[in-house]
Amino acid sequence: MRVGKIPGQVVRLAIVLIASLVVLLLVRARFVPESFGETGHYRADVVPAIAAQPIRYAGMQACAECHDDVAEVKASSYHRGLTCEGCHGAAADHVEDPVEATPAVPSGRESCLRCHEYLGARPTGFPQIIETIHNPMEPCAGCHDPHEPTPPAVPGECSACHRAIASTKSVSHHWSLDCETCHLTPQKHRENPRAHLPEKPVAREFCGRCHDRAAESAATVPRVDMADHGGRYPCWQCHYPHDPEGHS
């Protein structure tokens, strides 16, 4: 088998190669979806298919059209960032037909605990409670309007919103120090925390008030040479102020 000047081996290989290419093309024609690649490296038909799925959430604006009273109250409350359906569940069908389909009304305690039960991983400043000691048994809505949850009394303890820090500190060497020894805190911080932030120590000298060799603090407080201990760095570069460790 020899075609012109091409040796037989090559002709045979070429036949195998062409046969495999044909198979590949056939398989391609059979398996690659028609709309593949029209808009990107995916099947373009999938977009209308997804768009055709039934809509289950209506969005907050839709609710506000009829429940403007609730929407208005909520808009200036602590819960202004939450959507209605985050608590009431998907309610597009209710918007379609308000009387036939009514959304869930989550009046149990669990629905709030989803966000407010203490969890060390939540961001600092987020109001958290320990369910078993925060007015157990009573429904939350009895004291907090879910749409305007301002507590009946302003939280007194810093731990209401900074529990992770508070519990860390309570078992640290700084257990005896009050938060406000180091953070001068305006009363308003408890009501509108972000708008009225407390102070934080800014300079090394602050810690020196108790830890400098010449400081007038209890004799049990360990002392360092402020001039050269830790170089020029702020002390909290190396010691976490809420759980300081002095021995490596």
Binding site: M1, P7, G8, Q9, R12, L13, I15, V16, L24, V27, R28, F31, V32, F36, G37, H41
Partner: protein, 400 residues
């Protein structure tokens, strides 16, 4: 208690420092260790075989065909760990149908197919063609049919045709060397290009991978050549073994230098990750990196090979030393892959904590399956050797 929590609880006792929740459990396990190990063997064995053809290193000729078959046997197994790890192997062909040119991982199929079809199979076919024709003539029945299919019905054994075969083999080898570099350099690239991971992200990665591949390939062929000679009750060809040992030694030294360069470079740069990497090396990876990879798998074999190669030991002793050194090298390269793949996932992206890896016994990601995958290439090689005997002394055709 919920078994999920129980699992998490026991896992959390093993992590130290700060770990993000999705880092506790490793995503790439033993299978992803085996994958670069096997492709490395393929590339290494092939590069060794190419030396003979391209640079005409006559001494290693007895291993040429064995090396090619070894490369083929391991190449067939190379994608299996990935298929098993990803699941849904039946969908894997889709990456050929809709090639995605911007994804390095998706391009692997093409690198692999190119290497298998255009390089290895073609080269083996041209190399064996005359022999296939001769074997077909000698055998009967099904075997005859098999050789007929394998030779694609080719009959021409004229001197011109055989001369053409030789030229073809030479040409393919020339394409093959960069392709082998591509195949394994690519695997290194996958790791080296993950910029979020300081243990992996390094431009040297493809080159380090390549040289460790060459090391492991040469060592494997040396081992196989030695073992097959013993099984066939032949004395291994000493100049050939000596040459292999020299190559292995050189490759080991280059490999060690590259790794050291990488290491010094990291130390000198001292990026913020250096602290956690130091902890990693001295705790979780101490055994597999310092002891196994560095001492047992690299420095040990270098000393042994250097000593045996240039000393006046009797040949039997030399062979034994080579054998032990090559076996140690295999263990060392395996732990190299382990240290890259597993090591790279043992520390947190926060650079503040370490997690752990516990190898299961059963299951797809387990030890038994991994061992099976490592044994499989040898089974395939056995079959290949039966069908296509690579030995010089049993060649039927006069094409040598």
């Amino acid at each position: 208690m919920n078994p999920l929590y129980e699992h998490l609880e026991s896992a959390l006792q093993r992590v130290s420092g700060f770990i993000y929740p999705n880092e506790v459990e490793l995503h790439w396990g033993l299978l992803v260790v085996i994958y670069p190990y096997i492709t490395g063997l393929v590339a290494g064995a092939f590069i060794l075989a190419s030396l003979e053809k391209v640079f005409r290193v006559k001494e290693v000729e007895p291993t040429y065909r064995l090396a090619m078959l070894t490369a083929l046997a391991f190449l067939i197994v190379a994608p299996l760990p990935l298929l098993a790890h990803l699941g849904h192997p039946e969908r894997s062909f889709e990456i050929f149908l809709t090639p995605h040119f911007k994804s390095a991982m998706a391009m692997f199929g093409f690198v692999y197919a190119w290497y298998l079809m255009v390089v290895l199979l073609l080269e083996i076919w041209f190399e064996y063609r005359a022999d296939l024709i001769a074997w077909r003539k000698q055998s009967r029945g099904l075997k005859k049919l098999l050789y007929w299919i394998l030779s694609l019905g080719s009959k021409n054994t004229s001197p011109e045709a055989i001369a053409f075969d030789r030229k073809a083999v030479y040409a393919i080898t020339l394409i093959g060397i960069p392709s082998a570099f591509l195949l394994h350099g690519y695997v290194g690239f996958i790791f080296g290009s993950i910029k979020a991971n300081p243990w992996w992200s390094s431009v040297l990665m493809p080159i380090v991978f390549l040289f460790s591949a060459i090391v492991s390939g040469i060592a494997l062929v040396l081992l196989l050549y030695y073992i097959t000679s013993m099984v066939r009750r032949k004395t291994p060809d000493m100049p050939c073994l000596n040459k292999l040992a020299t190559f292995l030694l050189i490759a080991l030294i280059v490999d060690l230098s590259l790794e050291t360069l990488d290491f010094i470079h990291r130390l000198y740069e001292s990026e913020e990750s250096i602290e956690i990497l130091r902890r990693l090396i001295f705790s979780k990876l101490f055994l597999s990196l310092t002891i196994v990879q560095l001492l047992l798998g690299t420095i040990g074999p270098i000393l042994m090979l250097a000593f045996a190669r240039f000393s006046r030991l009797p040949d039997e002793m030399k062979r034994l030393v080579y054998f032990v050194a090559a076996a140690l090298v295999q263990v060392g390269i395996f732990s190299t892959r382990w240290n890259v793949v597993i090591g790279g996932q043992l520390f947190s992206k926060s650079l503040r904590g370490l997690t752990y890896y516990k190898l299961e016994l059963g299951g797809v990601e387990g030890l038994l399956f991994g061992v099976a995958l490592l044994v499989l290439p040898f089974v395939i090689l056995y079959v290949l050797v039966k069908v296509l005997p690579p030995w010089e002394d049993t060649r039927p055709s006069e094409s040598t």
